[in-house]
């Protein structure tokens, strides 16, 4: 495998469970050192894809290569070079914090002195040194998540795979976690993550694919995706009505495009303030009018007609 070959390469990758096709012949490639994201709503096929890449779920069809190796025949060799942070923490609650890292390192064939040295380092990194001898159960959600990440780094993985890394965490815990992931990225660890939070994708990913119903509907950097699939600004209007759909016709033409959500109208335009003036000129009186920049949420809405988090 030469250095310019992608670290992970999938073509026509498919996963079927009985009649249900969870992943429909997707293609993607992850380069060494980048942070690559799968963005999509629940049920888009992100986790199924991650499980195939993590060599814990055989592909039904297509081709998948990690480090140039085939998961179907080289599973243990590939997994030895991966770090996996699953959606739900699967920490060993019968063990203490430090024992969790020791044992996990042993699963990777590291010697006892190696795992002890590694655990000291990783607990420092995860800001858990003071809890080393604690049981896992009383830790907060953010601490457990950091321990799961610390554990996944014990084998010094080339690729760290994170499935919904911050789901269920409070804002402060999320930022601590993001900071840790940035540090890893700076050290050259390739990150592959799934998320249904657009801010997370924008914060962490160099490049991402948007998934919906098992398919990849768009691919690019967060900035490119916004430029290609949305306008520069968005005007959000809330009216004192039960159904915003009835007002959609009256704002039609004030921007490039209008999206109707149950609780608000979104007018896509390169100049939000100008559109706002036109709304007033048309005799409409919204309860609130907010101009903001387009986000990945808008990209997703444009591509699929649905919101990411419902």
């Amino acid at each position: 495998m030469t250095s310019d070959e992608p670290l992970i390469h999938a073509s026509g990758l498919t996963k079927r469970f009985g009649d249900f096709e969870a992943v429909k012949a997707i293609d993607f490639a992850v380069q060494r050192g980048e942070a690559f994201g799968f963005l999509g709503p629940n049920g888009a096929g992100k986790t199924s894809t991650m499980r195939m890449v993590g060599c814990v779920s055989p592909a039904t069809g297509g081709e998948l290569r990690l480090f140039g190796l085939d998961p179907a025949t080289e599973g243990p060799r590939i997994r030895a070079r991966l770090g996996v942070v699953p959606q739900k923490d699967t920490l060993d609650e019968e063990l203490t914090v430090e024992e969790n890292i020791w044992v996990y390192g042993r699963y990777f064939g590291l010697s006892k002195p190696q795992v002890r040295a590694r655990a000291t380092e990783l607990l420092e990194f995860a800001q858990l040194t003071e809890r080393a001898r604690s049981k896992v159960e009383p830790l907060s959600g953010g601490m457990k998540r950091r321990l799961t990440i610390a554990r996944s780094l014990v084998n010094d993985p080339e690729v760290l795979m994170l499935d919904e890394p911050t789901t269920g965490l409070d804002p402060q815990a999320r930022h601590v976690l993001w900071d840790r992931l940035f540090r890893l990225k700076r050290q050259g660890v390739t990150l592959v993550l799934t998320t249904h939070y657009m801010d997370e994708a924008e914060q962490l990913c160099d490049r991402l694919v948007v998934m919906d119903h098992g398919e990849i509907v768009a691919e690019g950097s967060p900035r490119d995706l916004i430029r290609e699939h949305s306008t520069r600004e968005v005007l959000e209007l809330r009216f004192d009505v039960d159904d915003h759909a009835e007002l959609a016709g009256r704002v039609d033409g004030l921007g490039d495009r209008v999206e109707v959500l149950p609780d608000r109208l979104l007018i896509y335009t390169d100049d939000g303030d100008a559109a706002g003036e036109k709304v007033h000129a048309a005799g409409l009186e919204p309860l609130s009018a907010l101009v903001r920049r387009s986000t990945l949420e808008d990209v997703f809405l444009n591509l699929t007609g649905r919101t990411l988090v419902d």
Partner: protein, 281 residues
């Protein structure tokens, strides 16, 4: 976070995993022993369960051997020798203890790890495979079983219930019984949906404990029932232990060994396959 650890040394496979490698069962990395290490570590936090597993068969031994033995005096074994009741029942209790310990570990404990702790999900994300999980868990319950059997045998020897040097083989034999039941127990556990299903395990274990020629010789049963008893697994464990501890040794014992070996291997392969199906879908 800047220290780079050396590349992991190639693990040396243990005897059990080497044996497992030649069988047509799912992939593993030959690292089952690390799961044993994990269990030993977890066990240090919950060692009290160890004591109860040890106490039960010894209490039975004294209650039945000494108490009931005062009423029954002697028994004529299926091998034809006349022995005290305590000598007669001790080997059977050893076999039953081996079964109980193995079944407890491979059913309740494995089910908890499989369904609630999600232990194997995280283990399978490492180089370890489903075969390592099956071999590791079964090996662990063998180790525990060996400790129980050893302690039980020691008590029986000290209490003067053992007279034959063949009894030295009773320990590996007990391990063999543990292996068979542990493997089948783990296989069965992979089919369990909730704790309610564990009643089926009790339903299977209790009659085995009572009617495997444990407390009275096979000859006591009506001939039709004798046939039935000889089909069930604990009977073979009891007959094996009794043959060794009473010194009634013959080639017939090999039949029991073969029965338990087949049962254990079927359970082992089945358990590994089911773990693969459940977790690597």
């Amino acid at each position: 976070m800047t220290i780079r650890t050396a590349a992991p040394a190639a693990p040396r496979p243990g005897v059990v995993s080497r044996l497992a490698r030649v069988l047509p069962i799912p992939a593993g990395a030959g690292m089952a022993r690390i799961l044993v290490e994990r269990n030993a570590m977890a066990f240090r936090h919950g060692w009290i369960a160890f004591v109860t597993g040890l106490a039960e068969p010894i209490l039975y031994l004294f209650s039945l051997g000494v108490g009931l033995g005062a009423l029954v005096r002697t028994v004529t074994t299926d091998g034809g020798s006349v022995v005290s009741y305590a000598e007669f029942v001790a080997p059977a209790l050893l076999a039953a203890a081996a079964m109980n310990g193995a079944v407890f570990d491979s059913t309740f404990n494995v089910f908890f790890k499989l369904k609630y702790a999600k232990l194997y999900d995280s283990v399978l994300a490492t180089p370890l495979g489903p075969r390592d999980v099956a071999v590791g868990e079964i090996s662990w319950s063998l180790l525990r079983g060996a400790f129980y059997s050893g302690a039980f045998l020691l008590v029986a020897v000290v209490a003067g219930m053992v007279h034959s040097w063949w009894a030295l083989l009773a320990l590996p034999a007990a391990n063999f019984i543990s292996f068979a039941f542990s493997a089948v127990g783990m296989f069965a556990t992979t089919f369990m949906r909730s704790w309610v299903d564990f009643d089926w395990i009790n339903l299977a274990i209790q009659p085995l404990f009572l009617f495997s020629a444990t407390f009275f010789p096979l000859a006591t049963y009506p001939s039709g029932v004798q046939w039935l008893v000889q089909v069930t697994p604990l009977y073979h464990g009891v007959a094996l232990e009794r043959g060794l501890m009473l010194g009634e040794v013959g080639t017939g014992l090999l039949v029991h060994v073969a029965y338990l070996a087949v049962l254990g291997l079927v359970g082992l392969v089945g358990a590994a396959r089911r773990v693969e199906r459940l977790l690597l879908s």
